[in-house]
Protein backbone atom coordinates (compact mmCIF):
# COMPACT_ATOMS: atom_id res chain seq x y z
CA UNK A 1 0.00 0.00 0.00
CA UNK A 2 1.25 3.44 -0.87
CA UNK A 3 0.71 6.07 1.80
CA UNK A 4 0.35 9.55 0.47
CA UNK A 5 1.37 12.03 3.13
CA UNK A 6 -1.42 14.43 3.98
CA UNK A 7 -0.43 18.12 4.36
CA UNK A 8 -0.80 18.07 8.14
CA UNK A 9 1.39 15.02 8.50
CA UNK A 10 4.97 15.61 9.49
CA UNK A 11 7.88 13.95 7.78
CA UNK A 12 9.87 11.56 9.93
CA UNK A 13 12.73 14.08 9.96
CA UNK A 14 10.48 16.77 11.45
CA UNK A 15 9.35 14.82 14.46
CA UNK A 16 10.95 15.32 17.81
CA UNK A 17 13.33 12.46 18.70
CA UNK A 18 11.85 10.31 21.43
CA UNK A 19 14.70 11.07 23.80
CA UNK A 20 13.90 14.79 23.68
CA UNK A 21 10.22 14.04 23.76
CA UNK A 22 10.55 12.00 26.95
CA UNK A 23 12.73 14.72 28.35
CA UNK A 24 10.02 17.24 27.61
CA UNK A 25 7.58 15.06 29.49
CA UNK A 26 9.91 15.08 32.41
CA UNK A 27 9.92 18.84 32.42
CA UNK A 28 6.17 18.96 32.18
CA UNK A 29 5.85 16.41 34.95
CA UNK A 30 8.08 18.64 37.00
CA UNK A 31 5.77 21.56 36.34
CA UNK A 32 2.88 19.49 37.61
CA UNK A 33 4.79 18.77 40.78
CA UNK A 34 5.63 22.45 41.14
CA UNK A 35 1.96 23.25 40.71
CA UNK A 36 0.94 20.77 43.36
CA UNK A 37 3.39 22.31 45.80
CA UNK A 38 1.68 25.68 45.51
CA UNK A 39 -1.42 25.32 47.65
CA UNK A 40 -4.74 26.73 46.51
CA UNK A 41 -3.85 26.63 42.84
CA UNK A 42 -6.58 25.34 40.54
CA UNK A 43 -3.89 23.51 38.61
CA UNK A 44 -2.88 21.46 41.59
CA UNK A 45 -6.19 19.77 42.23
CA UNK A 46 -6.13 17.17 39.48
CA UNK A 47 -5.59 13.51 40.27
CA UNK A 48 -1.97 12.72 41.09
CA UNK A 49 -0.21 11.80 37.86
CA UNK A 50 1.39 8.72 39.40
CA UNK A 51 -1.93 6.90 39.68
CA UNK A 52 -2.40 6.95 35.92
CA UNK A 53 -0.92 3.89 34.30
CA UNK A 54 1.61 4.29 31.50
CA UNK A 55 0.42 2.96 28.14
CA UNK A 56 2.37 1.22 25.40
CA UNK A 57 1.64 2.70 21.99
CA UNK A 58 2.96 3.27 18.50
CA UNK A 59 3.51 6.77 17.19
CA UNK A 60 1.33 7.62 14.24
CA UNK A 61 1.67 9.99 11.30
CA UNK A 62 -1.14 12.09 12.67
CA UNK A 63 0.52 15.02 14.30
CA UNK A 64 0.76 18.77 13.93
CA UNK A 65 3.78 21.03 14.13
CA UNK A 66 2.46 23.33 16.88
CA UNK A 67 3.86 22.93 20.40
CA UNK A 68 1.90 20.66 22.71
CA UNK A 69 -0.29 22.23 25.39
CA UNK A 70 1.35 21.42 28.75
CA UNK A 71 -0.19 18.34 30.35
CA UNK A 72 -1.15 20.11 33.58
CA UNK A 73 -3.27 22.56 31.59
CA UNK A 74 -4.91 19.82 29.51
CA UNK A 75 -5.93 18.06 32.72
CA UNK A 76 -6.98 21.11 34.76
CA UNK A 77 -8.96 23.24 32.31
CA UNK A 78 -11.82 21.68 30.38
CA UNK A 79 -15.57 21.33 30.17
CA UNK A 80 -17.20 18.22 31.60
CA UNK A 81 -20.51 19.53 32.94
CA UNK A 82 -21.22 16.23 34.71
CA UNK A 83 -18.75 17.51 37.32
CA UNK A 84 -19.70 21.19 37.34
CA UNK A 85 -19.93 24.10 34.95
CA UNK A 86 -16.65 25.79 35.83
CA UNK A 87 -13.68 24.63 33.78
CA UNK A 88 -11.74 23.90 36.94
CA UNK A 89 -14.54 21.69 38.33
CA UNK A 90 -13.73 18.47 36.41
CA UNK A 91 -10.20 18.38 37.82
CA UNK A 92 -11.57 19.02 41.32
CA UNK A 93 -14.47 16.59 41.36
CA UNK A 94 -13.98 13.85 38.74
CA UNK A 95 -11.99 11.63 41.12
CA UNK A 96 -15.32 10.28 42.39
CA UNK A 97 -16.04 8.65 39.03
CA UNK A 98 -15.59 4.86 39.15
CA UNK A 99 -14.01 3.69 35.88
CA UNK A 100 -13.10 0.12 36.75
CA UNK A 101 -14.95 -2.08 35.89
CA UNK A 102 -16.35 -0.36 32.81
CA UNK A 103 -18.96 -1.87 30.52
CA UNK A 104 -20.06 -0.58 27.15
CA UNK A 105 -23.50 -1.44 25.84
CA UNK A 106 -23.85 -1.82 22.08
CA UNK A 107 -27.36 -1.44 20.65
CA UNK A 108 -29.19 -1.05 17.36
CA UNK A 109 -28.34 -1.86 13.79
CA UNK A 110 -25.34 -4.16 14.28
CA UNK A 111 -24.59 -7.86 14.58
CA UNK A 112 -22.54 -7.66 17.79
CA UNK A 113 -24.96 -6.01 20.19
CA UNK A 114 -24.89 -6.51 23.95
CA UNK A 115 -22.60 -5.66 26.84
CA UNK A 116 -18.85 -5.58 26.49
CA UNK A 117 -16.08 -4.99 29.00
CA UNK A 118 -13.79 -2.19 27.85
CA UNK A 119 -10.86 -4.66 27.76
CA UNK A 120 -12.76 -6.69 25.18
CA UNK A 121 -13.52 -3.69 23.03
CA UNK A 122 -10.04 -2.18 22.92
CA UNK A 123 -6.86 -4.20 23.03
CA UNK A 124 -3.82 -2.71 24.71
CA UNK A 125 -1.53 -3.81 21.83
CA UNK A 126 -3.30 -1.72 19.21
CA UNK A 127 -2.88 1.70 20.77
CA UNK A 128 -1.39 4.57 18.82
CA UNK A 129 -0.66 8.20 19.58
CA UNK A 130 -2.13 11.09 17.64
CA UNK A 131 -1.50 14.76 18.17
CA UNK A 132 -4.64 16.74 17.36
CA UNK A 133 -5.72 20.30 17.84
CA UNK A 134 -8.82 20.54 19.99
CA UNK A 135 -10.97 23.59 19.29
CA UNK A 136 -13.59 24.45 21.89
CA UNK A 137 -16.76 26.22 20.77
CA UNK A 138 -15.95 28.86 23.43
CA UNK A 139 -13.04 30.12 21.36
CA UNK A 140 -9.93 28.46 22.77
CA UNK A 141 -7.74 25.60 21.57
CA UNK A 142 -5.16 23.11 22.78
CA UNK A 143 -2.77 20.68 21.09
CA UNK A 144 -3.09 17.28 22.74
CA UNK A 145 -1.26 13.96 22.28
CA UNK A 146 -4.04 11.38 22.55
CA UNK A 147 -3.50 7.63 22.86
CA UNK A 148 -6.17 5.32 21.49
CA UNK A 149 -7.57 3.55 18.45
CA UNK A 150 -9.25 4.84 15.29
CA UNK A 151 -12.99 4.56 15.85
CA UNK A 152 -13.54 2.82 12.50
CA UNK A 153 -11.53 -0.18 13.73
CA UNK A 154 -13.75 -0.60 16.78
CA UNK A 155 -17.01 0.01 14.92
CA UNK A 156 -16.07 -2.53 12.25
CA UNK A 157 -15.67 -5.12 15.00
CA UNK A 158 -19.26 -4.51 16.07
CA UNK A 159 -20.43 -5.30 12.52
CA UNK A 160 -23.00 -2.58 11.82
CA UNK A 161 -25.54 -3.56 9.15
CA UNK A 162 -26.60 -1.53 6.12
CA UNK A 163 -29.36 0.20 8.11
CA UNK A 164 -26.79 1.84 10.34
CA UNK A 165 -26.53 5.40 9.03
CA UNK A 166 -25.72 7.12 12.29
CA UNK A 167 -23.94 6.21 15.47
CA UNK A 168 -24.89 7.63 18.84
CA UNK A 169 -22.77 7.72 21.99
CA UNK A 170 -23.96 8.07 25.57
CA UNK A 171 -21.95 9.26 28.60
CA UNK A 172 -22.25 7.59 31.98
CA UNK A 173 -24.89 9.18 34.21
CA UNK A 174 -24.56 8.64 37.95
CA UNK A 175 -25.69 11.30 40.41
CA UNK A 176 -23.53 10.13 43.28
CA UNK A 177 -20.33 9.84 41.22
CA UNK A 178 -20.95 12.87 39.01
CA UNK A 179 -22.06 15.73 41.23
CA UNK A 180 -22.81 18.07 38.34
CA UNK A 181 -25.67 15.86 37.16
CA UNK A 182 -27.72 16.66 40.27
CA UNK A 183 -28.70 19.90 38.58
CA UNK A 184 -30.33 19.75 35.10
CA UNK A 185 -27.71 21.84 33.27
CA UNK A 186 -28.41 19.57 30.32
CA UNK A 187 -30.88 16.76 29.74
CA UNK A 188 -28.75 13.97 31.27
CA UNK A 189 -27.25 11.65 30.19
CA UNK A 190 -25.04 13.47 27.69
CA UNK A 191 -25.54 12.16 24.17
CA UNK A 192 -23.65 12.81 20.97
CA UNK A 193 -23.73 11.41 17.47
CA UNK A 194 -21.99 11.16 14.13
CA UNK A 195 -23.05 10.25 10.64
CA UNK A 196 -21.66 6.82 9.80
CA UNK A 197 -19.20 8.17 7.22
CA UNK A 198 -17.94 10.71 9.76
CA UNK A 199 -17.51 7.95 12.31
CA UNK A 200 -15.64 5.78 9.81
CA UNK A 201 -13.28 8.57 8.74
CA UNK A 202 -9.69 7.76 9.60
CA UNK A 203 -9.32 10.91 11.74
CA UNK A 204 -12.10 9.94 14.16
CA UNK A 205 -10.44 8.54 17.23
CA UNK A 206 -11.39 6.71 20.42
CA UNK A 207 -8.96 7.78 23.13
CA UNK A 208 -8.08 5.87 26.26
CA UNK A 209 -5.10 8.02 27.18
CA UNK A 210 -3.26 11.28 26.82
CA UNK A 211 0.39 12.20 27.22
CA UNK A 212 1.29 8.50 27.17
CA UNK A 213 -0.84 7.54 30.14
CA UNK A 214 -4.41 6.51 30.87
CA UNK A 215 -6.95 9.30 30.60
CA UNK A 216 -7.51 11.15 33.85
CA UNK A 217 -11.18 11.04 34.89
CA UNK A 218 -11.70 14.73 34.13
CA UNK A 219 -10.71 14.19 30.51
CA UNK A 220 -13.25 11.42 29.96
CA UNK A 221 -11.79 8.21 31.37
CA UNK A 222 -11.75 5.45 30.50
CA UNK A 223 -12.95 6.00 26.94
CA UNK A 224 -13.77 9.11 24.94
CA UNK A 225 -14.26 10.23 21.40
CA UNK A 226 -11.93 12.69 19.66
CA UNK A 227 -13.28 14.29 16.48
CA UNK A 228 -10.69 16.95 15.70
CA UNK A 229 -12.54 18.82 12.93
CA UNK A 230 -15.58 19.42 15.13
CA UNK A 231 -16.01 21.63 18.22
CA UNK A 232 -14.89 19.95 21.41
CA UNK A 233 -18.35 19.15 22.76
CA UNK A 234 -18.80 16.58 19.96
CA UNK A 235 -15.92 14.59 21.48
CA UNK A 236 -18.08 12.86 24.08
CA UNK A 237 -16.43 11.61 27.28
CA UNK A 238 -16.72 8.51 29.50
CA UNK A 239 -18.74 6.53 26.95
CA UNK A 240 -21.02 3.72 28.22
CA UNK A 241 -23.23 3.16 25.21
CA UNK A 242 -22.81 2.95 21.44
CA UNK A 243 -25.98 2.82 19.33
CA UNK A 244 -26.23 2.24 15.59
CA UNK A 245 -29.25 4.07 14.20
CA UNK A 246 -31.19 4.60 10.99
CA UNK A 247 -32.13 8.17 11.82
CA UNK A 248 -30.08 11.16 12.93
CA UNK A 249 -30.01 11.14 16.73
CA UNK A 250 -30.55 14.16 18.96
CA UNK A 251 -27.47 15.55 20.65
CA UNK A 252 -27.35 17.16 24.10
CA UNK A 253 -26.38 20.68 23.07
CA UNK A 254 -28.76 20.66 20.14
CA UNK A 255 -31.56 19.80 22.57
CA UNK A 256 -30.42 22.56 24.94
CA UNK A 257 -30.19 25.36 22.35
CA UNK A 258 -31.04 24.27 18.79
CA UNK A 259 -30.32 27.70 17.33
CA UNK A 260 -26.80 27.69 18.73
CA UNK A 261 -25.64 24.11 18.33
CA UNK A 262 -26.32 21.84 15.40
CA UNK A 263 -25.72 18.17 14.77
CA UNK A 264 -22.64 18.76 12.64
CA UNK A 265 -20.83 21.44 14.65
CA UNK A 266 -17.86 21.47 12.32
CA UNK A 267 -15.22 24.04 13.22
CA UNK A 268 -15.90 26.97 10.91
CA UNK A 269 -14.57 30.52 11.31
CA UNK A 270 -17.17 31.77 8.81
CA UNK A 271 -20.19 30.61 10.81
CA UNK A 272 -20.51 32.62 14.02
CA UNK A 273 -21.94 31.19 17.17
CA UNK A 274 -24.60 33.60 18.48
CA UNK A 275 -22.54 34.20 21.62
CA UNK A 276 -19.01 34.20 20.24
CA UNK A 277 -17.25 35.01 17.04
CA UNK A 278 -15.57 31.88 15.75
CA UNK A 279 -13.04 33.75 13.60
CA UNK A 280 -10.15 33.25 16.00
CA UNK A 281 -9.23 31.28 19.09
CA UNK A 282 -7.10 31.77 22.19
CA UNK A 283 -4.18 29.37 22.30
CA UNK A 284 -3.97 27.90 25.79
CA UNK A 285 -0.61 27.56 27.52
CA UNK A 286 2.00 29.51 25.61
CA UNK A 287 4.22 29.74 28.67
CA UNK A 288 5.21 33.40 28.66
CA UNK A 289 3.24 36.38 29.94
CA UNK A 290 2.65 37.84 26.49
CA UNK A 291 1.41 34.48 25.21
CA UNK A 292 -1.64 34.91 27.44
CA UNK A 293 -2.89 37.26 24.74
CA UNK A 294 -2.04 34.90 21.86
CA UNK A 295 -4.77 34.18 19.40
CA UNK A 296 -4.68 32.29 16.13
CA UNK A 297 -6.99 32.46 13.14
CA UNK A 298 -9.41 29.56 13.28
CA UNK A 299 -9.21 27.27 10.26
CA UNK A 300 -12.12 25.72 8.39
CA UNK A 301 -12.57 22.16 9.73
CA UNK A 302 -9.93 23.08 12.31
CA UNK A 303 -7.29 22.60 9.62
CA UNK A 304 -8.38 19.04 8.75
CA UNK A 305 -10.29 19.99 5.60
CA UNK A 306 -8.17 17.83 3.31
CA UNK A 307 -9.35 14.75 5.11
CA UNK A 308 -12.96 15.63 5.78
CA UNK A 309 -14.25 18.38 3.44
CA UNK A 310 -15.30 15.62 1.05
CA UNK A 311 -17.84 14.39 3.60
CA UNK A 312 -19.83 17.60 3.26
CA UNK A 313 -19.66 18.15 -0.48
CA UNK A 314 -22.79 19.92 -1.72
CA UNK A 315 -23.98 20.71 1.80
CA UNK A 316 -24.67 24.27 2.94
CA UNK A 317 -22.42 24.50 5.98
CA UNK A 318 -24.10 27.71 7.15
CA UNK A 319 -27.44 25.94 7.39
CA UNK A 320 -26.00 22.63 8.58
CA UNK A 321 -24.00 24.16 11.44
Amino acid sequence: MIRIAKPWQLKESQTTPERLYLNRRHIIGGLGLAASLVGGSALAKSKPQSTRETLAFKKSDYTIADPLTPENLVTSYNNFYEFGTDKSDPAKYAHSLVTDPWTITVEGEAAKTGKLAIEDLIRQDELEERVYRLRCVEGWSMVIPWVGVPLRKILARLEPNSNARYVQFVTKFNKSQMRGTRWPVLDWPYVEGLRMDEAMNDLTFLATGLYGRELPNQNGAPLRLVVPWKYGFKSIKSIVKIRFLKKQPATSWEKSAPKEYGFYSNVNPNVDHPRWSQASERVIGGGSFSSLFNRRETEVFNGYGDAVAELYRGMDLKRNY
Binding site: R275, R282, F289
Partner: protein, 209 residues
Protein backbone atom coordinates in the same frame (compact mmCIF):
# COMPACT_ATOMS: atom_id res chain seq x y z
CA UNK B 1 -24.11 55.10 66.04
CA UNK B 2 -21.41 57.60 66.92
CA UNK B 3 -19.58 59.48 64.19
CA UNK B 4 -16.20 57.93 64.90
CA UNK B 5 -17.60 54.40 64.99
CA UNK B 6 -19.28 54.98 61.67
CA UNK B 7 -16.00 56.20 60.26
CA UNK B 8 -14.29 52.97 61.36
CA UNK B 9 -17.08 50.93 59.92
CA UNK B 10 -16.76 52.72 56.60
CA UNK B 11 -13.04 52.06 56.53
CA UNK B 12 -13.62 48.39 57.25
CA UNK B 13 -16.24 48.14 54.52
CA UNK B 14 -13.91 49.89 52.10
CA UNK B 15 -11.18 47.33 52.79
CA UNK B 16 -13.60 44.41 52.50
CA UNK B 17 -14.97 45.58 49.17
CA UNK B 18 -11.45 46.22 47.85
CA UNK B 19 -10.33 42.65 48.58
CA UNK B 20 -11.52 41.10 45.29
CA UNK B 21 -9.66 43.81 43.38
CA UNK B 22 -6.49 43.38 45.45
CA UNK B 23 -6.64 39.60 45.02
CA UNK B 24 -6.89 40.03 41.25
CA UNK B 25 -3.95 42.46 41.23
CA UNK B 26 -1.93 39.94 43.21
CA UNK B 27 -2.77 37.12 40.77
CA UNK B 28 -1.78 39.24 37.78
CA UNK B 29 1.48 40.23 39.44
CA UNK B 30 2.19 36.50 39.87
CA UNK B 31 1.44 35.93 36.19
CA UNK B 32 3.54 38.89 35.15
CA UNK B 33 6.55 37.52 37.00
CA UNK B 34 6.05 34.06 35.48
CA UNK B 35 4.73 32.38 38.62
CA UNK B 36 1.73 30.11 38.98
CA UNK B 37 -1.46 32.03 39.66
CA UNK B 38 -4.88 30.86 40.79
CA UNK B 39 -6.39 32.06 37.53
CA UNK B 40 -5.81 28.72 35.78
CA UNK B 41 -5.07 27.97 32.14
CA UNK B 42 -7.04 30.90 30.73
CA UNK B 43 -6.38 33.88 33.02
CA UNK B 44 -8.15 36.39 30.77
CA UNK B 45 -11.37 34.41 30.81
CA UNK B 46 -11.00 33.77 34.55
CA UNK B 47 -10.52 37.52 35.15
CA UNK B 48 -13.60 38.44 33.12
CA UNK B 49 -15.70 35.88 34.96
CA UNK B 50 -14.37 36.86 38.36
CA UNK B 51 -15.06 40.55 37.72
CA UNK B 52 -18.53 39.72 36.39
CA UNK B 53 -19.39 37.65 39.46
CA UNK B 54 -18.03 40.30 41.80
CA UNK B 55 -19.92 43.07 39.98
CA UNK B 56 -23.26 41.33 40.24
CA UNK B 57 -22.72 40.36 43.87
CA UNK B 58 -21.73 43.86 44.97
CA UNK B 59 -24.65 45.31 43.01
CA UNK B 60 -27.03 42.92 44.80
CA UNK B 61 -25.37 43.85 48.09
CA UNK B 62 -26.13 47.52 47.40
CA UNK B 63 -29.77 46.54 46.92
CA UNK B 64 -29.69 44.60 50.18
CA UNK B 65 -28.75 47.63 52.30
CA UNK B 66 -32.25 49.07 52.57
CA UNK B 67 -34.01 45.75 53.37
CA UNK B 68 -31.33 45.02 55.98
CA UNK B 69 -31.80 48.46 57.51
CA UNK B 70 -35.55 47.87 57.75
CA UNK B 71 -35.29 44.32 59.05
CA UNK B 72 -32.61 45.02 61.63
CA UNK B 73 -33.90 48.52 62.45
CA UNK B 74 -30.48 50.05 61.96
CA UNK B 75 -31.12 53.40 60.26
CA UNK B 76 -27.39 54.22 60.05
CA UNK B 77 -26.90 51.44 57.45
CA UNK B 78 -28.10 53.90 54.82
CA UNK B 79 -24.87 55.79 55.33
CA UNK B 80 -22.94 52.83 53.90
CA UNK B 81 -25.10 52.47 50.82
CA UNK B 82 -23.32 54.95 48.58
CA UNK B 83 -19.97 53.20 49.02
CA UNK B 84 -21.42 49.80 48.11
CA UNK B 85 -23.09 51.27 45.03
CA UNK B 86 -19.91 52.98 43.89
CA UNK B 87 -17.94 49.77 44.38
CA UNK B 88 -20.49 47.96 42.22
CA UNK B 89 -19.95 50.60 39.54
CA UNK B 90 -16.18 50.24 39.93
CA UNK B 91 -16.27 46.46 39.43
CA UNK B 92 -18.68 46.69 36.50
CA UNK B 93 -16.35 49.23 34.87
CA UNK B 94 -13.39 46.90 35.39
CA UNK B 95 -15.43 43.99 34.02
CA UNK B 96 -16.17 46.01 30.89
CA UNK B 97 -12.56 47.16 30.63
CA UNK B 98 -11.15 43.63 30.92
CA UNK B 99 -13.55 42.37 28.23
CA UNK B 100 -12.92 45.34 25.93
CA UNK B 101 -9.17 45.41 26.53
CA UNK B 102 -8.13 41.80 26.90
CA UNK B 103 -10.79 40.00 24.85
CA UNK B 104 -11.34 42.53 22.09
CA UNK B 105 -7.89 44.18 22.33
CA UNK B 106 -9.57 47.63 22.40
CA UNK B 107 -11.18 47.22 19.00
CA UNK B 108 -14.14 49.61 18.94
CA UNK B 109 -15.60 48.02 15.82
CA UNK B 110 -15.52 44.59 17.49
CA UNK B 111 -17.25 46.07 20.54
CA UNK B 112 -20.03 47.65 18.45
CA UNK B 113 -20.49 44.39 16.53
CA UNK B 114 -20.76 42.45 19.79
CA UNK B 115 -23.27 44.91 21.26
CA UNK B 116 -25.44 44.69 18.16
CA UNK B 117 -25.18 40.94 17.71
CA UNK B 118 -24.93 39.24 21.08
CA UNK B 119 -27.93 39.44 23.38
CA UNK B 120 -25.99 39.05 26.61
CA UNK B 121 -23.60 41.85 25.66
CA UNK B 122 -26.47 44.13 24.61
CA UNK B 123 -28.18 43.58 27.96
CA UNK B 124 -25.01 43.99 30.00
CA UNK B 125 -24.07 47.15 28.17
CA UNK B 126 -27.49 48.78 28.75
CA UNK B 127 -27.22 47.81 32.41
CA UNK B 128 -23.86 49.54 32.64
CA UNK B 129 -24.96 52.70 30.81
CA UNK B 130 -27.97 53.05 33.14
CA UNK B 131 -25.61 53.13 36.11
CA UNK B 132 -23.51 56.02 34.79
CA UNK B 133 -25.97 58.81 35.80
CA UNK B 134 -26.27 57.14 39.19
CA UNK B 135 -22.53 57.21 39.76
CA UNK B 136 -22.38 60.83 38.58
CA UNK B 137 -25.16 61.93 40.95
CA UNK B 138 -23.89 60.00 43.94
CA UNK B 139 -22.45 63.04 45.73
CA UNK B 140 -24.24 65.00 48.44
CA UNK B 141 -24.05 68.14 46.27
CA UNK B 142 -25.84 66.39 43.42
CA UNK B 143 -28.49 65.06 45.79
CA UNK B 144 -29.13 68.61 46.97
CA UNK B 145 -29.19 69.94 43.43
CA UNK B 146 -31.69 67.38 42.19
CA UNK B 147 -33.80 67.39 45.34
CA UNK B 148 -34.45 64.14 47.22
CA UNK B 149 -37.58 63.24 45.28
CA UNK B 150 -36.07 63.51 41.81
CA UNK B 151 -32.83 62.01 43.05
CA UNK B 152 -34.49 58.89 44.44
CA UNK B 153 -36.65 58.52 41.34
CA UNK B 154 -33.50 58.62 39.18
CA UNK B 155 -31.79 56.09 41.42
CA UNK B 156 -34.62 53.61 40.91
CA UNK B 157 -32.73 52.86 37.65
CA UNK B 158 -30.58 50.54 39.72
CA UNK B 159 -33.45 48.04 39.79
CA UNK B 160 -33.53 47.84 36.00
CA UNK B 161 -29.75 47.60 35.93
CA UNK B 162 -29.78 44.70 38.40
CA UNK B 163 -32.43 42.84 36.39
CA UNK B 164 -30.33 43.39 33.25
CA UNK B 165 -27.25 42.14 35.11
CA UNK B 166 -28.97 38.87 36.02
CA UNK B 167 -30.35 38.50 32.48
CA UNK B 168 -26.84 39.15 31.12
CA UNK B 169 -25.64 36.22 33.25
CA UNK B 170 -28.52 33.98 32.08
CA UNK B 171 -27.84 34.67 28.42
CA UNK B 172 -24.08 34.30 28.84
CA UNK B 173 -24.12 30.90 30.57
CA UNK B 174 -24.33 27.81 28.38
CA UNK B 175 -27.04 25.29 29.21
CA UNK B 176 -29.22 25.61 32.29
CA UNK B 177 -26.61 26.56 34.89
CA UNK B 178 -27.32 27.05 38.61
CA UNK B 179 -25.34 30.32 38.93
CA UNK B 180 -27.82 32.63 37.19
CA UNK B 181 -30.74 31.07 39.08
CA UNK B 182 -29.00 31.66 42.38
CA UNK B 183 -28.50 35.37 41.66
CA UNK B 184 -32.02 35.62 40.29
CA UNK B 185 -33.29 34.12 43.56
CA UNK B 186 -31.44 36.73 45.64
CA UNK B 187 -32.80 39.54 43.44
CA UNK B 188 -36.31 38.12 43.82
CA UNK B 189 -36.05 38.07 47.61
CA UNK B 190 -34.81 41.68 47.63
CA UNK B 191 -37.73 42.78 45.44
CA UNK B 192 -40.23 40.74 47.43
CA UNK B 193 -39.10 42.37 50.67
CA UNK B 194 -39.58 45.84 49.19
CA UNK B 195 -43.12 45.01 48.06
CA UNK B 196 -43.97 43.46 51.41
CA UNK B 197 -42.52 46.35 53.41
CA UNK B 198 -44.24 49.10 51.42
CA UNK B 199 -47.54 47.18 51.59
CA UNK B 200 -47.16 46.90 55.36
CA UNK B 201 -46.48 50.61 55.62
CA UNK B 202 -49.51 51.44 53.52
CA UNK B 203 -51.77 49.25 55.62
CA UNK B 204 -50.40 50.85 58.77
CA UNK B 205 -51.12 54.29 57.36
CA UNK B 206 -54.66 53.35 56.36
CA UNK B 207 -55.39 51.97 59.84
CA UNK B 208 -54.20 55.16 61.47
CA UNK B 209 -56.42 57.21 59.18
Amino acid sequence: MSKSRLRWLKLLLFIALSLPFLWLLWQWSLLFTGKISSLGANPIEATNRFLGDTSLRVLLLSLAVTPLRQMLRMPWLTKLRRMVGLFAFFYISLHLLSYFGMDLLFSLSALLKDIAKRTYITLGMIGFVLLIPLALTSTKAMLRRLGPKRWSRLHKLVYISAILGVLHYFFMAKGNQPGPWLHFGVLLVLFAWRIYFSAKKRIGQLKRE
